[in-house]
């Protein structure tokens, strides 16, 4: 049976939100399977409403379906109620597009965006009817693959994934399809699974964990090296050099039921060189590649007309940094063909300029505005290189209140390197000051403070830092709670420190973490991102059962000489660049944004022969963080910037 719908439809009346499983969205492709066609099941290991908006998955879905020799369908993790029913009925995991059993696909490709979804990955492989460990798989089983930000350290899942893709997927999915197509043409007989995996390992950006041996000395890794000749010692990430060549998704999926980010999304640039030291995305997606403004405009107006959405998000890691953002926003808001359109700008800088743009787009509905100063004191923000002065923040907040917003939301991290109680309490101080600023404009201004525990990530300057313990994070949150108990207008929210610990284990874990993830999964620990399913005690039980020490993995500082589990992978960044940036962090020294200043040779451009694609050679107006644009009234908090290791001539602002 290649279409499971007749059996599924009998189960759907008995599950919550059955529209998650029906497919049929506008933008759904019509994949045609056949002997010469490599079939991909692009799987998001969380629910439909979280996974559907994922742009990476949608981009690859279109690119693959445009090829005659490939067919791609989508899959999202079934919620626990449907999972119980399909297990009882002995039905396998299925695609949404044609309700085809997952095991009939050549590749099951997972999007790894968050560590807490790892148990869902194993669950989906198992629901597909495929052995969870790659070593146990038969020749005819689908290849299990993964892409996405978490694949920069895929080691905890190394025993479960057949291959892993690092970096931008646009080009490499085609190259992988070529390899698999040749194999499929021989009915998967010639050479066999191992040979195909070896061939895939020869494709730049593809990592095949089983082809590498890890050797240990005691607890420490001493070496990771290829098991076969011809397998690269270091796997480099893939980077597309020009976003203009990839105007995807062209037909964004319009869900029939409610999802997060339910709006048109247009990616305006990829990569970010603000250099925030805690931010993995900003490190691994370098350099900055802007989409031409004209293409943005076309994608926005075509997309709105096609989908019927009345909201568009211009997405990137810091959208106010897009060259000419004001004009693009103004054009979108006034595009007569699109009717009343609201524009969402996720990831905005904290300054008055930003609020100006926000005022332009949110003429109505001024309920809340969100900023992320990330740390409570200027000292702390220099450590993390998030160079927002207090003036920046206060101007932004005052601007927001004076222009009609009633609620301001502030995001912070706690547990950052060198953080003192003074830094933690600085968060409360900022919040109180924001309320005070607001009370001259609003009757009851409100500030929501959201605090997350910091998790060090691979390929960041903080990858050597020992994460704060759960007890320490709880103590810091307690400090803030006590301090804000009597503060009027301030609401404090925080991320569960126990979840932070588990994220930390997976974030910098090695292959020995695999059995821990499997242990948790085998005892029903799925949907760990969901608070009602997260089970800290089960994780700790699993660590103990596998003889592993959470302290050693999460809370231990690493030295520069230590072999890190991901050292055989590369995001282009030189280790000495990251180490120097770590030293600078400890010295509280900030680093400018290299998009408008000379190159530091971090390696992301020079290593791959690419460069920034930025339309404007100068920083956007009003920006101060990390750009060196010091305004006269800001002497008191002047940014301490140290130019260093500049390599060659300034990288040209290569307008595309």
């Amino acid at each position: 049976m290649t279409n499971l719908w007749p059996r599924l439809e009998l189960l759907l009346p008995r599950v919550s939100k059955p529209a998650r499983y029906i497919g049929g969205e506008d933008g759904m492709q019509a994949p045609v399977h056949g002997p010469g066609v490599v079939s991909w099941l692009l799987t998001y290991p969380d629910t439909y409403e979280i996974g559907l908006p994922n742009q990476g998955l949608q981009i690859l879905y279109e690119i693959l379906n445009e090829r005659d020799d490939a067919a791609a369908e989508r899959c999202y993790a079934p919620w626990v109620d449907l999972e119980a029913l399909i297990r009882a009925e002995r039905l396998p995991l299925f695609s949404l597009d044609t309700h085809r059993p997952a095991s009939l696909f050549d590749v099951l490709a997972f999007n790894l965006s968050a560590e807490l979804t790892y148990t869902n990955v194993l669950n989906c492989i198992d629901l597909a009817g495929v052995p969870v460990r790659s070593a146990d798989r038969a020749e005819a089983d689908p290849l299990i693959a993964a892409g996405g930000h978490c694949t920069y350290n895929p080691e905890p899942l190394a025993d479960y994934l057949d291959f892993v893709v690092l970096g931008d997927g646009e080009e490499v999915v085609g190259e992988i399809t070529d390899v698999l197509g040749r194999w499929k043409a021989t009915d998967k007989r010639e050479g066999g699974r191992l040979d195909v995996l070896k061939e895939l390992a020869g494709v730049a950006g593809v990592y095949v964990p089983a082809l590498y041996d890890v050797s240990y000395e005691g607890a420490r890794i001493v070496d990771v090296s290829p098991r076969y000749r011809g397998v690269p010692a270091t796997v480099e990430k893939r980077t597309i050099s020009d976003l203009a060549e990839w105007p995807y998704p062209k037909n964004q999926l319009v869900p029939l039921t409610e999802v997060v980010h339910d709006r048109l999304n247009v990616e305006v640039f990829r990569g970010c060189t603000r250099g925030c030291r805690f931010c993995q995305a900003g490190m691994i997606t370098r350099p900055v590649r802007e989409r031409p403004a004209e293409q943005v405009r076309t994608m926005v107006s075509d997309g709105l007309r096609r989908t019927g959405y009345d909201e568009v998000a211009l997405t990137s890691l810091s959208t106010a940094d897009f060259s000419g953002i004001e004009q693009v926003v103004a054009d979108t808001v006034t595009d007569a063909g699109c009717g009343q359109v609201s524009v969402a700008l996720p990831s905005l800088r904290v300054d008055a300029f930003t609020v100006g743009i926000a005022a332009q787009i949110q003429r109505a509905r001024r309920t809340g505005l969100t900023f992320a100063p990330e740390a409570g004191t200027w000292r702390m923000r220099q450590v993390i290189n998030k160079l927002i002065s207090e003036e920046d923040l206060y101007e932004a907040v005052e601007g927001a209140y004076s222009q009609g917003w009633r609620r301001v939301k502030l995001y912070f991290l706690t547990g950052l390197p060198t953080e003192t109680d003074e830094d933690t309490l600085g968060i409360a101080e900022l919040a109180r000051n924001c309320v005070a600023l607001g009370s001259s404009h609003q009757r009851s201004p409100s500030v929501t403070v959201s605090v997350g525990g910091f998790v060090p990530k691979p390929f960041t300057p903080f990858q050597w830092f020992g994460q704060n313990t759960t007890i320490e994070l709880k103590r810091k949150i307690g400090l803030l709670r006590d301090d804000l108990r009597r503060a009027r207008g301030v609401q404090l929210k925080w991320h569960d420190p126990e979840a932070t610990l588990v994220e930390g284990l997976a974030s910098r874990g090695d292959r020995r973490l695999g059995p821990v993830i499997e242990y948790v999964w085998r005892r029903g620990g799925t949907f760990q991102e969901w608070s009602e399913h997260f089970d800290h005690d089960l994780w700790m039980e699993a660590m103990a059962a596998c003889g592993l020490d959470a302290d050693w993995y999460a809370h231990r500082h690493r030295s520069v000489n230590e072999v890190l589990p991901w050292d055989h992978l590369s995001a282009g960044l030189h280790t000495d660049f990251l180490w120097q940036d770590w030293r600078d962090a400890l010295d509280e020294v900030g680093l400018e944004d290299c998009r408008w200043t000379p190159c530091y040779d971090c390696g992301a451009c020079t290593g791959y022969g690419i460069e920034h694609v930025v339309a404007s050679a100068t920083p956007p107006a009003g920006a101060s963080q990390g750009t060196g644009a010091v305004r006269s009234n800001r002497e008191a908090a002047a940014v301490k910037l140290t130019p260093r290791r500049r390599v060659g001539a300034p990288v040209g602002a290569g307008a595309s």
Partner: protein, 278 residues
């Protein structure tokens, strides 16, 4: 100007909720370029109103919505072309059957609909047993059902709402019932009727066939849709245009009676980078 639209909702899309259908229509009207009037105020909403909510999982040949058009641009709308345009703008499984102009003074669908006719396919039971149960239900003075409402159990007598009940025809895997159920003061669901049967048959597939309003003691539909030969409300003019649902007919049937899962969930949100919004 106010328009009344009648549409069908069949096939996979029956699993979308009333709220989902609302969102689908807001987008469809924008895609079709229909100049909908917007409400005033801080958050302008398109002025569209739906009739009685269709329970998730049920199909329908008789869904309605009223649309207020913009006073100036609304005049340029060509009514005759609208069914086809709107069907093209809605997803597979939704077909617009009729569009007509109505008086703004007409009462809302929510207020005026008094009953609905349902086609109810049941299984796990033979025709004779269903017939006997139906006869008993019609003969009863009261039919008491218990349901949960805001966390408390309440009991209702639904007999006054049972207007008619026929055991019409055997189907491939059971029997089809046709029931007219009242909607005032609250709409009785086919599932409640079946639960009151003894023995209780298993609900396989349910389709709303008609909604009824009363105009001067005469029962009529809010908007007529010409009936096709099979009794399905598909106007000839639209038959070509109607999206095909044939591949979506149910096959092998089994009967179990688990209540729909009601798992409320809250997600641990990762701390995000800055964004603007509420």
């Amino acid at each position: 100007m106010r328009l009344r639209v009648r549409f069908a909702k069949v096939g996979k899309i029956r699993f979308t909720s009333h709220r989902d259908v609302n969102r689908i229509w807001e987008r469809a009207l924008r895609r079709a370029g229909v100049p909908v009037a917007y409400s005033q105020g801080f958050t302008p909403r398109p002025r569209i109103a739906f009739g009685l909510a269709l329970p998730t999982g049920y199909e329908s040949d008789a869904e309605y919505l009223d649309i207020d058009l913009d006073d100036t641009e609304g005049a340029s709308v060509t009514l005759a072309a609208l069914p086809q345009t709107l069907t093209g703008a809605t997803p597979t499984g939704m077909t617009v059957l009729a569009v007509a102009r109505i008086d703004r003074a007409e009462p809302s669908l929510q207020q005026s609909v008094t009953s609905c006719t349902w086609g109810i396919d049941v299984g796990g039971i033979d025709a004779a047993t269903v017939s006997a149960a139906a006869t008993r239900a019609l003969a009863a003075d009261e039919i008491v059902v218990t349901r949960e409402r805001k966390g408390r159990m309440v009991t209702d007598d639904i007999r006054p709402q049972l207007v008619s009940l026929d055991v019409s025809e055997p189907t491939a895997d059971g029997v089809r019932l046709t029931a007219e159920l009242g909607t005032q003061p609250r709409a009785v669901r086919p599932a409640e009727l079946l639960a009151a049967f003894d023995p209780s048959p298993c609900e396989l597939r349910v389709r709303r066939l008609h909604q009824w309003i009363r105009v001067e003691s005469e029962r009529r539909e809010p908007l007529e849709a010409p009936l096709s030969a099979t009794g399905r409300a598909v106007p000839a003019a639209l038959a070509m245009n109607a999206k095909d649902h044939r591949d979506d007919r149910p096959t092998g049937r089994r009967c179990e009676s688990l209540p729909p899962g009601q798992l409320a969930s809250r997600k641990i949100r990762q701390i995000q980078p800055q964004f603007i919004g509420s």
